[in-house]
Symmetry: C2
Amino acid sequence: MELPSKLLENAVNEISQLPGIGKRTALRLALHLLRQPGSQTSMLSQALEKMRNEIQYCNECHNISDAEICKICESPTRDASIICVVEDVRDVMAIEGTGSFKGVYHVLGGKINPIEGIGPSQLNISTLVSKVKERDITEIIFALSSTMEGDTTNFYIYKQLKDYPVLTSTIARGIAIGDELEYADEVTLGRSLMHRIPFEQSIRQV
Amino acid sequence: MELPSKLLENAVNEISQLPGIGKRTALRLALHLLRQPGSQTSMLSQALEKMRNEIQYCNECHNISDAEICKICESPTRDASIICVVEDVRDVMAIEGTGSFKGVYHVLGGKINPIEGIGPSQLNISTLVSKVKERDITEIIFALSSTMEGDTTNFYIYKQLKDYPVLTSTIARGIAIGDELEYADEVTLGRSLMHRIPFEQSIRQV
């Protein structure tokens, strides 16, 4: 794809560095910005730079925050002895959306992934271990995605914590509500049978 | 979707102004930039600002260019008496990719679209009419997409040009090479029958 301008080519190359955006989409976005008033481009680029340079992370849970301690960690109504371990801010938002978790979070900032060169030292794991060591933590809930990387990360943290008197659990894997059994994969279906729950308990939760 | 930081929220709002990018994708892109070195974000935002502020358009054909006259208009091997009218730079790139057009282009910068408030005065139509009036132009080829807006634009320009001794043509509409007849829409199939070409001519072109 030969572009008629170096400026355009440069912009297209930078946009296509973003995940899931190829050269064609990048060109479409660049041409869109050229058609819009210049203020839109400057607002976009300023918002990006400002976010990248000034963003803060909560000192407690490493979630993105506008203050040193985030609103969740600061709240007196949350139970700081139950920590839910998640990958990033999107997972915090998803769990908060359910309205059913009253503990606090610990954001790892990724998952162990040797192929992409992400090891335990690049994740917020040591601060989680210190919390368990120093404070009165009763339960650690692993809420990572059920992938090879998620399971590896869970297991790595589990090993670090197993000498301390803390309960570790993972979120339940099973058939999603509204899903048809015949389309479920075998591992999920097998596990949902193995970890079946008393019927009275399931109707009380509805 | 409640975000934990105003800076992040601002960036997500700006990113999601881009066409085809919703709030969720915008959040994914913003979090990606936060995970990458700060240099990536500054290179992206600088490339966008530089493109938006410094881009030039060819004085002849209105295509994006790094100089006052673009490489195509400047080339002595191109026939400046045949002008192909297109919507934007992507169409120029697509036609150049075929290697079969040796005339020059005229980039309109859009199509007439009353619903989006785009009228003839916002497009590069008057300069095309002046060219036909003042120079020795033999043919104008309309190569806009075959949509309501494309057809409207073609017809508007055709009316402006009909008093001048210039041939106007449109690119052929028909069954795409490799396409199956049964999936073609009726209008396309009907037109491709109406505008059939002698068989000897078709095999000479292969």
